[in-house]
C-alpha cells in the first residue's frame, strides 16, 4: 500500500515537473508565441512596477510633510510660550502696583 502511494506521488511530481515551464524542452518554432507572451507579461509587470514606484514616492512625500499633530503641537507651543510670557509680565505688573 505504502509503496503504491509513494509511486503515485512520484508520478504526480514528475508530471508536474514535465508540465512546468522549466522543462520546456529545446526551443522549437512553436515556442515563438511563448516569447511574445513573456514580453507582454514583462511589459505589464513593468507597468505595475512603475505604478508601485510612483506610489512609494508619493508615500514618502506624505511622510515628509508634517501631519496635523505636529501643526497643532506647534501652535500649542506658541500659545503656551506667549501665555507664560504674558502671565509673568502681568504678575510683575500687579506686584508693582501692590507695593
Amino acid at each position: 500500500m505504502n509503496f503504491g502511494r509513494t509511486c503515485s506521488l512520484l508520478l504526480l511530481l514528475s508530471s508536474c515537473y514535465l508540465a512546468s515551464p522549466v522543462f520546456a524542452g529545446p526551443p522549437t518554432p512553436a515556442s515563438e508565441p511563448t516569447i511574445k507572451q513573456l514580453q507582454e507579461e514583462n511589459a505589464s509587470l513593468r507597468r505595475q512596477l512603475m505604478r508601485l514606484q510612483s506610489q512609494v514616492a508619493a508615500q514618502r512625500e506624505e511622510l515628509n510633510s508634517p501631519g496635523a499633530s505636529q501643526i497643532i503641537s506647534g501652535l500649542g507651543y506658541i500659545v503656551g510660550i506667549f501665555g507664560l510670557a504674558g502671565w509673568l509680565a502681568g504678575r510683575k505688573k500687579s506686584a508693582q502696583e501692590n507695593s
Binding site: Q70, I78, V79
Partner: protein, 204 residues
C-alpha cells in the same frame, strides 16, 4: 527656502547664531506686554504659513511671509520669526538647529526692514496702505532670497548662480506674498486699523 544643517561653514553658523540671539534680545526688549497676544497670533501664522505650498511645475515652493510679519509686528518681528523657525525645525524638520541662526537672520532682517518701510511710508489712505503693504510683503521674500544667496556664498557657493536660482524659484512666491500682504493690510485697515500701528503698547 531654509538652509539645512551642515551647509554653512561652522564659523558662519556660529556667527549668525550669536548675531540672531543679540537681535532677538533687542527684539524682546522692544516688545511691550500689551503686544504679546498679537505677536503670538502672528507667530502662529508664520509657523503655519510655511505649509501652504505654491505648485510650480514639477516642484513646489511654500509661503514664507517675512514681509507680512514685519509689517504687522515691527521690531517684535524678529522674535516671532526666531520662535517660528525653531518650532518649524523641531517639528517639521525644516532647516536644522545648527543653521537656525542663519535662517533667522535670513528671514528676520528682511522682516525688520519691511516693518520699518511700512511704518515710514504707510501714510493715511487705504490705497497707500495696501500698496506699501504689498510691496513690503513681496520685498521681504526678495530680500530673504538675496540673504540666502549671500549666506550660501559664504559656504563656497557661487553667489550669482545661487541668487539666480533662488530668485527664479521664488518668482511666484513674491507675487503671491505681495498679494497676501496687500489683502491682509487692506482687511485690517478696514476692520481694525490700530493693529497696523506695529507697537500697541508703546503708544499707551
Amino acid at each position: 527656502m531654509h538652509i539645512s544643517d551642515g551647509v554653512l561653514p561652522i564659523s558662519v553658523a556660529l556667527g549668525s547664531g550669536v548675531a540672531s540671539l543679540a537681535i532677538a534680545a533687542w527684539s524682546v526688549k522692544q516688545t511691550a506686554n500689551e503686544d504679546l497676544p498679537k505677536v503670538a497670533v502672528v507667530t502662529a501664522s508664520f509657523f503655519v504659513s510655511s505649509l501652504i505650498h505654491v505648485p510650480l511645475g514639477p516642484t513646489s515652493v511654500h509661503l514664507l511671509i517675512p514681509g507680512l510679519v514685519g509689517v504687522l509686528l515691527g521690531p517684535a518681528a524678529f522674535l516671532a520669526i526666531l520662535l517660528g523657525l525653531l518650532l518649524q525645525s523641531l517639528l517639521f524638520q525644516f532647516g536644522g538647529l545648527t543653521a537656525l541662526g542663519a535662517n533667522a537672520l535670513m528671514m528676520g532682517i528682511p522682516a525688520l526692514l519691511c516693518g520699518l518701510l511700512f511704518k515710514r511710508l504707510r501714510g493715511d489712505t487705504q490705497k497707500q496702505h495696501v500698496l506699501v503693504g504689498g510691496l513690503a510683503g513681496g520685498g521681504g521674500t526678495l530680500l530673504a532670497a538675496a540673504l540666502l544667496a549671500l549666506l550660501l556664498a559664504s559656504g563656497g557657493e557661487d553667489f550669482f548662480g545661487v541668487m539666480k536660482l533662488a530668485l527664479l524659484a521664488h518668482l511666484p512666491v513674491f507675487v503671491v506674498e505681495g498679494l497676501v500682504s496687500a489683502f491682509t493690510v487692506s482687511f485690517l485697515f478696514r476692520v481694525k486699523p490700530e493693529l497696523l500701528a506695529q507697537q500697541l503698547g508703546a503708544a499707551s
